[in-house]
Symmetry: C2
């Protein structure tokens, strides 16, 4: 098999473990902390998790390993979208298992959680594992989006575990997957299966974050990759001086990715969905804000700029959500038939005009025609508008163009506006993990093995103090139930891990807010460049700006 030079070189990289885990397996002991309770709805969560609720937080420390020496057979699952570092979680887990007892076995269930219930697996050995050290992607065993949540699935999972003598399952996933990990852990405990479940916090979206999770893995690498590209585009834009670049970045609901990229690159504009929702902004308001930057810059002779658009922002615009709901309603069931029979767009437009409320029609009317048509013509199998397909970067540039045309008529603007569009998502989810993600993930996996060895169940592998050098990282575990509250999902009350949105009173947003006017009118671009895996530590071991700001580590 042919390999790239970097891939060969990365095989040699030795991930940094937290200091307390560096003494070897026999030198790791447990320090039990306080009993925990869930962040909200304690009584309800407790009732739902009678066997796993209220357990103690633990940290590891240097000292004699007191775990019962028992052979472990562990199954690992990658769940959901790719994130750089997933391979290293598995490598860390594997190395710790083998270091503990060479007879320990690691199964990898293939294609996501469905691999467990379909009993589709590989058994790892050194040769297999070594091919994936410090590499990106989830191709080691594949991933999938099947949810493990039904009693039926749990029964099958129990059977599969019994069949292979599996003693623990490690689930690498986002908020939903870790919620399901907790439910599975409770099921295993209630049914006295002897199988424990450990979760690991993964998502490039950055929305699995709370008092116990400083950062989800993959966020660092993905945002550095997008920031590399945005910085390159900024430099291009500042050289050619003739385009406005509208850059959409991945992240369906929370805007952590957009915000981190903005902090790393200082673009002229960055929309934050949470702010749009909080201020109940309209499309026109947003377009006006962007146009203000375009005009201010045009006055200085700068007919160029960069705007970052979070993927899911349109869903946070109240009037737009309302419009979508009305369209879904207008074409629900067989009502779509009448619409589909209309001969051309003019007739369809008349139909729409009659069907929508006056307010929604006003919103609809300002959309560019390509998006109007998309809303009506490309619907999912249930007849609903596919919001995720909306090219919001083109939507906003079209709206801005209209605003500028108005201002030009009034003599308020006399520049040129040539927009270009980009979407960055797939480019970052499978990059070679940064040193931070390589170290963090390897530690999460190694640490998960220690939690298993010490018999913990329903715990999240927790590595914290991440803004410090790895030597000072703190490894341990936290009951997943501690992060839960009750939320209404699909009409039912469910215990779930709270999704972390961008906090408008948090330090990262506050920093952005304090600087954005300056960035919008001037050219303050920062060019982060490509992720470096070698070289000066200040270049190749940099934490995210978000984490640095949250920890109060940013001067000025």
């Amino acid at each position: 098999m042919k390999l790239s030079p970097l891939q060969k070189a990365r095989y040699q990289y030795v991930p940094k473990l937290p200091g307390m885990l560096r003494g070897g397996i026999s030198e790791i002991c447990v320090n039990e902390g306080e009993a925990t309770k869930s962040v909200a709805d304690q009584e309800k969560i407790k009732a739902l998790f009678p066997n796993t609720y209220g357990k103690k937080e633990i940290t590891f420390q240097k000292g004699k390993n007191t775990a019962v020496a028992k052979k472990q057979v562990v199954g690992v699952i990658l769940s959901g979208g790719q994130a750089p570092g997933g391979h290293n979680v598995i490598c860390g887990l594997y190395d710790a298992l083998k270091a503990t007892n060479k007879d320990n076995v690691l199964y990898g269930f293939k294609g996501g959680p469905s691999g467990l219930v379909e009993d589709d697996f590989v058994v790892f050995d050194d040769e297999f594992i070594n091919r994936f050290r410090n590499t990106g992607g989830f191709d080691i065993i594949g991933s999938g989006r099947t949810k493990l949540e039904t009693e039926e699935q749990f029964k099958i999972a129990t059977e599969v575990c019994k069949k292979h003598g599996i003693t623990a399952i490690v689930i690498i996933g986002g908020d939903d997957s870790n919620t399901n990990a907790a439910v599975l852990a409770e099921y295993f405990a209630a049914h006295k299966t002897g199988v424990s479940v450990i979760g690991c916090p993964k998502t490039i979206d950055g929305d699995l974050k709370n008092d116990d999770i400083e950062i989800s893995f993959g966020f660092d690498t993905a945002t550095k990759t997008y920031s590399e590209l945005i910085g390159n585009i900024e430099r291009d834009c500042n050289s050619a001086k003739k385009y406005w670049h509208f850059v959409k970045v991945m992240g369906r609901s929370a805007s952590h990715v957009a915000l981190e990229c903005a902090l790393e690159t200082q673009p002229n504009i960055c929309l934050i969905s949470e702010e749009v929702a909080a201020k109940k902004m309209s499309l026109s308001q947003i377009a006006n804000d962007i146009a203000d930057s375009v005009c201010a810059r045009a006055q200085k002779g700068w007919n160029f700029g960069v705007a970052i658009i979070p993927e899911g922002v349109v869903e946070f615009v109240p009037e737009f959500s309302k419009l979508i709901a009305e369209i879904n309603d207008l074409l629900a069931g067989n009502k779509a038939d009448a619409f589909n029979k209309l001969a051309n767009w003019n007739e369809k437009y008349a139909f729409i005009e009659k069907g929508l409320s006056k307010e929604s029609m006003q919103v609809f009317a300002i959309l560019p025609q390509s998006i109007q048509q998309q809303l009506f013509l490309e619907r999912d199998p249930h007849g609903n508008v596919q919001v995720s397909l909306i090219e919001s970067e083109k939507l906003f540039s079209a709206l801005v163009k209209d605003v500028l045309a108005e201002r030009k008529k009034k003599g308020l603007y006399n520049g040129k506006f040539s927009p270009l569009h980009h979407f960055f998502g797939y480019e970052g989810r499978c990059a070679f993990p940064s040193n931070f993600d390589a170290d963090y993930c390897y530690s999460l996996g190694y640490n998960a093995c220690m939690l298993i060895q010490y018999g913990y169940n329903g715990y999240l592998s927790k590595v914290s103090n991440l803004s410090k050098p790895a030597e000072n990282w703190v490894a341990g575990g936290m009951p997943i139930t501690k992060m839960m509250n009750i939320e209404r999902r699909h009409g039912e009350d469910k215990p779930v891990i709270r999704k972390a949105l961008v906090e408008l009173d948090g330090a990262p947003f506050k920093f952005f807010e304090a600087h954005r006017k300056e960035w919008s009118e001037n050219t303050c671009y920062l060019y982060p460049g490509a992720i470096q895996y070698y070289g000066p530590t200040e270049v190749c071991d940099v934490i995210t700006r978000t984490l640095a700001l949250e920890k109060g580590l940013v001067e000025e």
Copy 2:
């Protein structure tokens, strides 16, 4: 001014000069070679360049500097699209000028060649230059696309040079800009201005390449950046196993960029425009070829893949070029009025059907509607179709979809086809130059100064033997006229540097051709990862696969 960690670190990088230039200015002497003649049309070129034709190739070597010690005042110009390393050409030129004589002066003409005729400039000093060492972009003085080609412009340029006492102009540009540099050099010589002109070979497209130019600068960094992204997408695609990614890469006419990216990443498909033209391929043929890969992979259960599409490929499809010509004709002048008055697309379609030849209508009919409409609705100020706006990545995925639907009906295909689309161009033109480009560009600039000092005019700064370590690079100069031939441009015979297209019997294409069937049916992805500026030399000093193959350096 705030800077990224990498930018700060790159300031410290010391570019590697060719060994023969390392002894200091006083230790560089000239070795004159043979008199040259143009690659074709010798008599015509000689007649057009009586003062600069037929000069000798020169190389520098270690030895006593015999140049006349004369104060130099040099003006430098960045011409055309951005390419990583442009700043370093200027830094190398500046450093050599100052090392020769601290009273030497470097002017930077702003915004491209127009800066010279508009007398719009900056004068460089250490502080200014130091801010741009080893950085990407052309923002140091900006670039532009104005061509210096008229007698009128040359007269003004002469005046500007006289005014500032300028002794030489260095033009950093592509094939057209270097052609114009030769014409300007001839003008300056004929008019005994005493000003010399030196060209430097820049373009990420890679099409300024010949016996004397092994590679144009920027190609290395840009293709490595695109290959990073394509590799990441391949890894994502091989993890998620559910999408076909159609990736368009920049490069309007030649397919060097696409080919280099394919050699670096081994995708399932890569179209090469030159092959499409040579084989007179139709859109359907191309779509069929891609569909063959989709089907072969689907049979193995792999409903995913990656296809690279060169930006300009549709212009190389004969039937498509004919269609475009007919559309331009159909709507020429006031013929467009009748078309524009038609009420809706159905009526317009009927108009088109009547106006196009039967063959072109067949081509038009298979296009997706969005592209049909684009061809007719988005025309340039002259009423012509804007071919560059055609989203060819979407065009081909749509055509492939149709082919697959046909095959499905016949029971020949039973997979899923979910295409996603990307375009990479602006992301790579202003990346921090790779060590190769940083070294090569600095050497080109340094070398340009030596050519100036020794009084050469109409020369290209030539650095060769580039597949070897920089120590062994060969620095010298070549008369630009040597690379010229006569071509018909805009109805006139013009002396121009021949644009280098991908040679179908060249080693890079031959290698691709020999492997592409294997790549198309199997999963042979290579993941190059981000450009590394530090670390093991086999990671951070890698030449392009194209150059390695051309030099016979690739085993297997």
